[in-house]
Amino acid sequence: MRARLLIVSCLLLLLYPPPAVQAQAMVNPDISLIGDMRYIYRNDVAAALADQNNLAFEFDELELNIVGYLNPYARADATLSIEGTSGPVNIEEGFATLLRGLPVQLKFGKYFLDFGRVNQMHIHQMPWLEYPLENQSFFGPEGAQVVGVQASRLQGIGDNAVRFSVNAFGSDIFGDEEEENSDAEGSGETKIGGSARVSVFREVGETSAIEIGGSYLNAAYDFAQDLTTQVGGVDFTYKWTPGIYHSVKVIAEAMVDDREVETDTLGTVENVTAYGAFAAAQVKFRQVWNVGAFFDWSEDAYVSADEVTSFGGYVMLMPVEETIIFNLVYRYFDSNVVEGQGDTVTLQVLFGLGPHKPHPF
């Protein structure tokens, strides 16, 4: 009788197997939300010409970050950002990383390109409030975000940690102006671009560290005319962190862009070389206060005689770690094109809910 019952049970199990419940399905990923509000006083020629109100209250961005392990070898990261109060919703990043088991770490999806240091940061990590002018000029207003594949390796060489990475990506990464120029927009056509980066990191004593990096990119930006650009960059970072109360951070980057530009309707192509540089320094004191200063300059990627210079400073209060941040920023700018001169004072308020916090660079 028992044997018959067992056989019937086995048959039923074969016919109706129990649903496969896996551990991964039972574990929630880390979910975080970062809000970025800005209260702006603007004083510039362009605003005056456009008869714009020089006061603005802006909900700049709400960022949703989801991170979790897929299995013992891989992790997925997704960052969605909602611009303003009604959108659009952008996929800032969405990628899977094969963490271990291979000689290199592989990343697939959309991500911030590791060109220099600042380009790898989310906007809320930049107390100076926007991507450096060189990143905006050479890549677009949101820096270089690519859909591609990255292979990287971290290698100890002597006392140095050396990171090598190479990227292959769809070339349609460039912002507003270039997309308008591109006949390929919407056609699904793309070309493959590539970049590489080497950075050397070294601890100096127990509390300081420096990192020096070099990056190179080669990509087409106008598919119809087959126009390409090459960008090279060097970067330097210094951090002194003796404890939780004080720190000093310095970051500096310089880039050069060599771009094929169509100079007339006959299709004459010339190379335009443009330069840019950015530097920022921040001092933390009494655990909750930070003061910083920045310098930002870039030539236009298409007309190198057009240039913008900007500099400013900020005072930042983080009363309870990085859960809420008040950042008062002054920025002066001087452009020899339409915007002219001007300055802005912005009170930025950031909040961070969940494990991923808006920590400044």
């Binding site: 070898y73 992790r75 990383t97 963490l99 271990r100 088991g101 291979l102 290199v104 770490q105 390796r153 971290l154 290698q155 100890g156 006392d159 940690a161 990171r163 990191f201 070294r202 601890e203 127990e206 560290a209 990192e211 951090k239 962190t241 404890g243 939780i244 109360y245 655990q287 909750v288 009363p319 309870v320 770690e321 859960t323 809910l353 494990p355």
Partner: protein, 300 residues
């Protein structure tokens, strides 16, 4: 001549094939305390390094590429667990080490202060799995050692006898030291203390000390004037003599409280290397007893 050459080639091949006679097992630990215990158990068979300095706050560690390189070369990673060294995950991920064995040293600990209600950020930095400063009860040292020896036996079974002997020796020394600490730290029993952060429930339980208040209003939250005023009243009312401050916190508020109450501020190492005299897991407790006993008991 030919045969001599052949012998030479065979000898060279055998020598090369044999490789290093005794390659050390590389261990990286989140904290100096776990590293110290691992060193005592593993002895000459292991090479141990730690990530967080003994004088630094283990809640916050910068993710440096050099740490990832260190972990990339390791065989074993020792985590504190209980969400204290949450940062270790990113270091491990960045290390690209597919062969790394990760051991959570909290797995046999009988955790204190596990929240009984739903936790949220308004309560400060609450750890869901209980207070994570468990290594500060010396009797937990054996439970940490148990995890380490089991991990070493798994990673390097050929030398398991040596590791088991190392663990036995560590346990014997620890038991002897516990007897000694009960004696030397005995006068602290029943005394009241205020500490900066809630790092000491395990230590206080072992030595019978009463932690009656904290400089932080809530775990991980910086001191506020209203809370400090309440704490001053409490210290005066209860006659608390000592404000214990973890070495990595600022002494600004504790000193201000001390001026108002007459209490003494004592810099306390929470980890090995937190002060010069705390050179290993045993001398950490020797140092803590030497630092705390005189001001708590009014002895010179």
């Amino acid at each position: 001549m030919k045969s001599n050459l052949l012998k030479l080639v065979i000898a060279a091949a055998l020598t090369l094939g044999a490789g290093p006679v005794h390659a050390k097992i590389r261990i990286v630990a989140s904290t100096t305390d776990l590293a110290s215990i691992a060193q005592m158990i593993g002895g000459d068979n292991v090479q141990v390094e730690s990530i967080c300095r003994g004088s630094a706050d283990p809640h916050f560690v910068q993710l440096l590429p050099s740490y990832m390189v260190k972990v990339g070369r390791a065989d074993i990673y020792l985590k504190v667990g209980m969400d204290l060294d949450y940062w270790a995950n990113q270091i491990i991920d960045g290390s690209q080490n597919g062969k790394l064995v990760i051991a959570d040293c909290s797995q046999y600990i009988n955790a204190l202060e596990i929240p009984k209600t739903k936790v949220n950020a308004s309560m400060g930095d609450i750890h869901l799995r209980g207070n994570p400063h468990y290594w500060l009860d010396p009797s937990n040292g054996a439970l940490i050692g148990q995890v380490i020896v089991e991990t070493l036996d798994r990673v390097d079974p050929k030398n398991s006898e040596m590791y088991d002997a190392g663990f036995e020796s560590f346990q014997t020394q620890l038991e002897a030291k516990i007897v000694e600490w009960h004696e030397t730290g005995g006068p602290m029993e029943g005394k009241d203390i205020v500490t900066f952060h809630n790092s000491w429930p395990y230590f206080a339980q072992f030595f019978g000390i009463n932690v009656v208040g904290f400089v932080e209003p809530k775990p991980g939250i910086a001191p506020t004037p209203s809370h400090t005023a309440q704490l001053v009243s409490l210290i005066k009312d209860r006659g608390v003599k000592v404000i214990g401050k973890e070495v990595y916190f600022s002494d600004r508020t504790p000193k201000s409280i001390a001026r108002q109450t007459g209490a003494t501020v004592v810099d306390l190492p929470t980890s090995v290397d937190g002060v010069k005299s705390a050179t290993d897991y045993f001398t950490l407790f020797d140092s803590l007893i030497a630092l705390l006993t005189p001001p708590l008991t009014d002895s010179p």
